[in-house]
């Protein structure tokens, strides 16, 4: 039966090519625009570490003085050196890492390459284990290196390719800001999207090329990138004592019980610091997981959301348009439908036949929409925005495109098909 309906649908669609083309084009444009913007949104709001992100938490404390205090306010987005180090050394979580972003001048040994700036991450040792960072050569450093402020560095694959032609560079020396570092590891390709662990240096910007221990970078006064929020006496030449927050602290907590215990620990720590007089505000802590942290920071640019709404509005107009055209098309065939009814076809089978026709339009429109979405994403990738390179259609989105197109067109076909089925067969036969 389906084959017969399909045959009928194709005949009917061929009969009025302009109208068919218009319907297909409208569906294709609407679906193409929606899928392009949806894919961008999907990529931007994706989970940076699938499977792991639910176990990673971002503790926040409120160490500020009473100036501008509001009850129920949000604690600062980062931690300072004293609290960061205290939480790090407490080792209350499975893994914990204290970090910040920066930029270092790299002086390659080869004279062929001019010195250049590279974005860097200054972090404690657990970073690599906690975020499941893959290594191509070597390994990260350990807590003893952190304590000693060891001059060790880990490169990304890209930087290793640039400096050492992709060869195993572990054990070699890298000069940064006139200081020699020993390379202990090279990462394999790794780019979590969004750049969740430090949103201060751009949510989707290209990641850092080199990692060094936080203690080493702070001792050497390497330039720090990102946000520094100070209160009270504020800025000072020594970031270790300044009343500023400028570090990100992440912990891995494997079970909800561990997370609850950690939150309790943060509260106790705050109370203790308040008793000591370091904290003046009442304890105010947060413990968000990765997705919660991304939501809270609204990392997806509002323009991208606006574009999705725009595209859906566009699709809605295209669908209304298709409903109108399909109505015209189905009603024009009243005579033919009347004959089928008179020959014994039930309303239900007529309805099915018309919906198959609508579905065929949807399928062709979906294919067109897919091509348009691919073209649209190609255009997005050519834009100079931070996230441009990420805009690719994955398999679920590809399948969703087709499903979306067919369902949308079937919905659009419901009203016209229903109207066409209501035509009394006798009247049509008589008037002919």
């Amino acid at each position: 039966m389906l084959g017969y309906y399909l045959d009928l649908a194709l005949r009917s669609l061929k009969r009025n090519k302009a109208l068919t083309a218009l319907m297909v084009l409208a569906i294709a444009l609407g679906i193409g625009a929606s899928m392009t913007t949806l894919t961008v949104l999907h990529v931007l709001s994706g989970d940076p570490l699938p499977g792991k992100s639910g176990k990673l938490f971002y503790p926040q404390l409120d160490p500020q003085d009473m100036d501008g205090y509001k009850p129920q306010g949000e604690p600062p987005a980062q931690v300072g050196w004293i609290d960061g180090m205290a939480l790090l050394h407490a080792k209350r979580a499975r893994y914990q890492a204290l970090m910040t972003g920066g930029a270092v001048p790299i002086q390659p040994a080869q004279s062929a390459i001019e010195p250049f700036f590279e974005n860097a991450r200054y972090t404690s040792a657990d970073f690599f284990a906690m975020f499941d960072v893959p290594f191509l050569y070597g390994h990260g450093w350990n807590a003893a290196d952190d304590e000693a402020g060891a001059r060790v560095a880990v490169l990304t694959r890209e930087l290793n390719d640039k400096l050492f032609g992709g060869k195993d560079s572990t054990g070699q020396t890298l000069r940064m800001d006139d200081v020699a570092f020993r390379i202990v590891g090279v990462l394999d390709s790794w780019r979590p999207t969004p750049h969740f662990y430090d949103l201060m240096t751009g949510s989707y910007s290209a990641d850092e090329g080199v990692f060094v221990p936080l203690t080493t970078a702070t001792d050497l006064k390497f330039a720090h990138n990102g946000s520094t929020d100070c209160w009270g006496k504020g800025f000072s030449d020594n970031m270790k004592t300044a009343t500023c927050t400028w570090l990100q602290f992440w912990v891995q907590l494997d079970t909800p019980a561990e997370a609850a215990a950690y939150r309790e620990y943060l509260l106790n720590y705050s109370r203790e610091q308040q008793a000591l007089g370091r904290f003046q505000r009442p304890p105010n802590v947060r413990l968000r997981d990765v997705m919660g942290w991304l939501d809270y920071n609204k990392v997806v640019p509002s323009d991208v959301r606006l574009q999705v709404w725009l595209a859906f509005g566009f699709l809605l107009v295209c669908l209304v348009n298709t409903v109108g055209l399909m109505l015209a098309k189905f009603l024009r065939r009243a005579a033919e439908l009347g004959v089928r009814r008179a020959l014994g076809a039930s309303r239900r089978s007529l309805f099915a036949q018309l919906l198959v026709e609508a579905g065929a339009v949807g399928l062709v429109g979906g294919t067109g929409g897919l091509l348009l979405a691919l073209a649209g994403l190609w255009l997005v990738r050519r834009q100079p925005s931070d996230y441009a390179a990420l805009a690719h259609l994955d398999l679920p989105m590809l399948l969703a495109t087709f499903a979306f197109a067919v369902v949308a067109t079937l919905l659009a076909g419901l009203l016209p098909a229903w109207r066409a089925c209501l035509i009394p067969p006798a009247l049509q036969l008589k008037s002919n």
Partner: protein
């Protein structure tokens, strides 16, 4: 022509009529708001910074192994390095003037603070106005091309220097007219005293410039976008920025000359591809997202109008085909071609009219919704009215071809069986 027969006929095509009206309404709502967004973006992108933007470029560079800016000794050494660079750049044949500066409009790297008329005012408290600082020297006005409207420019004797992180008194400043009007609504600001960043040391305003945008181009800076303050101080750190004005037409030559001359002064520094940038590149980068959004919105609006027009053509063509015989009868009874043409035109006007009435409501509703979720202001009436006229005109244009086909139906059609 009487409307009654048209309305009677429309009642027979309820579904089609409602669909066209709905489509017009939705299109109007979306296009009005999209064009409004485009207008806002274009306005943002085109606002002048107050600089003379041609023949201007910016150098951002960092020294390698530089002395620390946290010791007085280091600060002096860094300042000497900076002065050497400035002297070398000012010697270049294509260069008119050079000013050290911590940032430049649209660079999105800001040093913001607050100014107040009272000493020791709380940061962010009442009676404070936010501002962005430009730390520079006596060549700032000529280099940036700022227009002084009152008072005087900085002189070489005014210029101090300080470590990047040091706090230092700021005896004098030049402010923008916008900031001056806010702080001193009555009379001239020149010679008056203000206090920066909650300090208790006074800062005397020595000059007022016409206009100078803050470095932040994002919307977070919107409320103080013209409130800039120029401080005659060289900041000393392991990095430095220099704004350079070149002779007319010599921008490229001057930019090419920068790297060799700076490396000659001191080879221990990093100057990469991003270090020397003409101002128009900085402007393009700051506004690229706005530009992209405006283009995208424009394209979507255009396609939307085409789709709606095509829908009207399609459905009207269907109606014309359906009413072939009736049109023939009317023609046979004496209706002229023009009458038939007008019939379809008025019919479309009625449907489109109903559509735009709903559309205006939808457009305002959509605008209100966008205002609560995104940074949008209330849509001005002219936008909506223009949209209404555009939709009506588009309806008439779309209906013309099928209507003319209808008017060409010969009267003999009446005698043929349907």
């Amino acid at each position: 022509m009487k409307l009654h027969p048209i309305l009677a006929a429309l009642r027979k095509h309820k579904a089609g009529t409602v669909l066209i009206a709905l489509q017009i309404a939705l299109t109007l709502a979306i296009v009005c708001n999209a064009v409004f967004i485009i207008g806002q973006r274009i306005e943002r992108v085109n606002r002048p910074t107050g600089l003379d933007e041609s023949n201007l470029f910016l150098i951002s560079q960092q020294w390698v192994g530089a002395p620390s800016a946290d010791t007085p000794d280091g600060v002096e050494k860094l300042d000497a390095m900076q002065r050497e660079d400035l002297a070398a750049l000012r010697q270049l044949p294509d260069v008119v003037s050079v000013a050290p500066i911590n940032s430049i409009p649209l660079l999105n790297s800001s040093w913001t603070g607050s100014v107040s008329l009272k000493p020791g005012a709380q940061l962010g408290g009442k009676g404070n106005t936010r501002t962005a600082y430009y730390f520079t020297d006596e060549q700032a006005l000529s280099t940036l091309g700022l227009r002084l409207v009152a008072g005087r420019a900085f002189t070489a004797g005014d210029v101090q220097h300080q470590g990047f992180r040091d706090q230092r008194e700021r005896p004098i400043a030049i402010i923008t007219r916008q900031l001056a009007d806010k702080l001193f609504p009555q009379g001239s600001a020149v010679g008056k005293v203000m206090y920066t960043d909650g300090s208790s040391a006074p800062t005397t305003v020595v000059g007022v410039v016409e206009r100078l945008q803050i470095p932040a181009s994002g919307s977070w800076g919107n409320e103080f976008v013209w409130n800039s303050t120029l401080i005659p101080t060289r900041l000393d750190a392991n990095f430095a920025r220099y704004a350079v004005r070149t002779k007319p037409g010599r921008l490229d030559a001057a930019m090419r000359a920068v790297a060799p001359v700076l490396y000659k002064v001191n080879p221990l520094r990093v100057l990469d591809d991003d270090s020397v940038k003409p101002f128009d590149e900085i402007r393009a980068k700051a506004y690229r997202a706005d530009r992209g959004m405006a283009v995208l919105m424009g394209v979507v609006c255009l396609i939307l109008l085409c789709v709606t027009a095509a829908g009207i053509v399609g459905l009207t063509s269907f109606w014309v085909g359906q009413r072939h015989r009736q049109i023939g009868v009317r023609r046979a009874l004496g209706a002229r071609k023009a009458d038939i043409l007008h019939y379809f035109q008025i019919e479309n006007l009625l449907i489109a009219g109903a559509g735009v009435v709903i559309g205006v409501l939808l457009a305002v509703g959509l605008n209100l919704w966008l205002m609560t979720h995104y940074e949008m202001s209330r849509i001005p009436l002219p936008y909506v009215l223009t949209g209404v006229l555009a939709m009506l005109a588009m309806g008439q244009a779309a209906v013309f071809v099928p209507a003319r086909r209808a008017s060409n139906v010969p009267p003999v059609e009446a005698t043929r069986a349907a």
